[in-house]
């Protein structure tokens, strides 16, 4: 039990080059044709708005002073990146994302193990764990706000939303409560791919439950964990509703999406707002890129040890 136990040999097949027959080529062509309409529509409804936002972000474009609109190049980006409010929002978003995703991973894994190992009432257990994910975020946010407010709440005569730490804690707890089920669902899928024989072999070798978790289960579901982290991190980084409902950005809890909302919806300053959205978009791409890179090297190491 010195080295990490690896996935069975069956995985190897997917990696090697496969000779394509004519029939396979024809099928692939048909597949492309069938998928084309959907892909074109996707491009129209996502690529066009993104390109338009990039275009708008290069203008001073404020609907309230229409006669002052003008091309300003990258000025909007400079304004944003030199503003203290922006960096405060980046910090708030990062803090909320990192802490809530970390907690979700731990609790989500515990839930996934419970769902995986539950012997009786498996369906009930799974339903119970998944319920919070079925609740609309705004409603969950209101529920927690009312729960902690002194006038409607039940936690006593304190006012968590009246301070920085309490505000962040409330937002993070709401996020964790709401999205841990999603995390555990993704992890459960990963758990299901860990072959039972490995567990049995480890058991025969005298490994404790803890050792089996750390040395057998987790290494084998690494890619599932990374996918779950990626999905949740991208989601959490765009957080808007919980903050909007619970603190409206009070106590330094304004997030990047909140700034974008203020600029675009409340101030109809389309130039500045588009630039904020584009910056958020780039940050999301950067996060996704980092994760995907991590994801690939991991698959590589698994294969290399084969």
């Amino acid at each position: 039990m010195t080295a990490t136990t690896t996935a069975p040999a069956s995985r190897k097949r997917s990696g090697g080059p496969v000779k394509t027959t004519d029939r396979a080529k024809a099928e692939r062509n048909l597949g492309l044709k069938l998928a084309a309409p959907a892909a074109i529509i996707m491009l129209l409804v996502t690529a066009y708005p993104i390109c338009y936002a990039v275009y708008l972000s290069l203008f001073r474009y404020d609907l309230r002073v229409p006669e002052e609109n003008a091309f300003v190049g990258l000025d909007n980006y400079v304004l944003i990146l030199t503003s203290g409010v922006w960096w405060e929002a980046v910090l708030a978003t990062a803090v909320i994302t990192v802490i809530s995703v970390a907690i979700e991973l731990v609790i989500g894994l515990a839930f996934a193990l419970v769902m995986h190992r539950a012997i009786f009432g498996r369906r009930t257990v799974r339903t119970a764990i998944l319920i919070p994910y079925g609740i609309i975020t705004v409603i969950a946010a209101f529920a927690f706000r009312f729960a902690v407010q002194p006038d409607t709440g039940f936690i006593g005569d304190v006012n968590p939303l009246g301070g920085t730490i309490g505000s962040f804690a409330t937002i993070i707890i709401t996020e964790v409560w709401k999205t841990t089920p999603f995390m555990s669902l993704l992890l459960l899928a990963g758990l299901a791919t860990v072959p039972e024989e490995l567990q049995e072999a480890a058991k025969v070798d005298g490994a404790t439950a803890w050792q089996r978790l750390w040395k057998v289960t987790l290494p084998n579901m690494k890619s599932a964990i990374l996918v779950a982290l990626l999905f949740r991190a991208l989601d959490a980084f765009r957080i808007f509703d919980t903050v909007y409902v619970q603190t409206a950005g009070q106590f330094k809890s304004q997030t990047i999406s909140g700034l974008g909302y203020n600029a675009l919806i409340s101030r109809v300053n389309l130039g500045l707002g588009s630039a904020i959205s584009i910056l958020l978009f780039l940050m999301i791409i950067a996060i996704a890129f980092l994760f995907v890179k991590g994801f690939k090297t991991n698959l590589g190491t698994v294969k290399g040890e084969d």
Binding site: G162, I265, V268
Partner: protein, 420 residues
Amino acid sequence: MRATALLAAALFTAPLAACGGGDDTAGGPPTVNWYIGNEGWLPDVIEACNAEASGAYRIVAESLPTNPDQQREQLVRRLAARDDSIDLIGMDVVWTGEFAKAGWITPFEEGELENVGSAEQVLKGPFESAQFDDQQYGAPLNSNTRLLWYRKSMLGDRPVPKTWDELLDTAEELDVKVQETGKRAESLVVFFNALLESAGGSIVQPTEDGTTELDLPEEPTKKALEIMRRYADSAAAPAALSTSAEDDNRLAFESPDSDSAFMLNWPYVYPSVLEADPELAKDYGWAPYPAVVEGQPARPALGGYNLGIGSYTRDRDAALAAVNCLTKPEQQRTIATTGGQPSVLRELGDDPELLKQLPFLPIMTEQLENAAPRPVSPQYNDISLAVRQVLHPMQDIDPEKSYDDLKDLLERALKSQAVL
């Protein structure tokens, strides 16, 4: 199959038809769609005017959300998209400059307004709030300023505080709370603007070319910031200060076992307590908003509605006729008695019937003459967001540093270059 298609078509077009609101082709009187927050007095005044119009037009209220920020957001979205179903807008006084500059409302020509078109008819504060670029863009409908409310039994035989310093001293000695708004919302700007104007400063000044430039004189601004900080640190500040808005203050003050002896709030709190607990209402006292500089009357912020006619309306004449009916003394009287929102008309200032229902009216009328409009600026919303950004939470205000921050952020905001 056909039935399903028909049903689908009906489901799809029904909401569209509902959006179209002001469709006149159906016959009958032209509809005047009035976008306004949901006020208790709305049905009464609309019914009165529709009856008086006897078929010349028909006003239909399009209810907006309760929260003023959300009201504005919905209006701005519709107006920016040139929604022609908006005939009449109930504008919070502070939106007037923004909507006028953007070309979303049309100015009133000389003589078009029968009841509220001149400074002789309307109190000074409300009248100024409706002007932009030397033209009248709004028809003042009602007005409002905050008063100092106190509980007579808690104050005892002490004098009613006349300045902010006296107010905080008295409250600290009596070990009671002062209810003011501290939430990061428009109400915080109302508080700050009142202190700043009372100290002799203002946030912006109009320039000759019809725009605005930053004013924010150092002495008065720092004085205002010092008072906010002193209040936030004081034992007189309620625990929930940094999260309370006007209605939280009202509820805290209105509760029978309240430890709050003072509250700065709009006059709607009086009709509210009369309805909730008439006995308690007898314990309510009222006084002018406390001054900042001794002997210099306070200039509390002005609230209330201005009526504006949407630029994309399909029937401006009908909308104008509706404005002239809604601003009549009868309607203003209804609004004052059922909503506690004082009239803007000079002639109603000493109306005996109103005085009976709203005994604080004389103080109010005097204050409305002095009241400071919040900046009439196309960038008002950015100004407001900038003030909230720097001054919340109040206990973190450092007069020196906050002054510099405020100045810096407001300068950017006025050029619509601030990230907020």
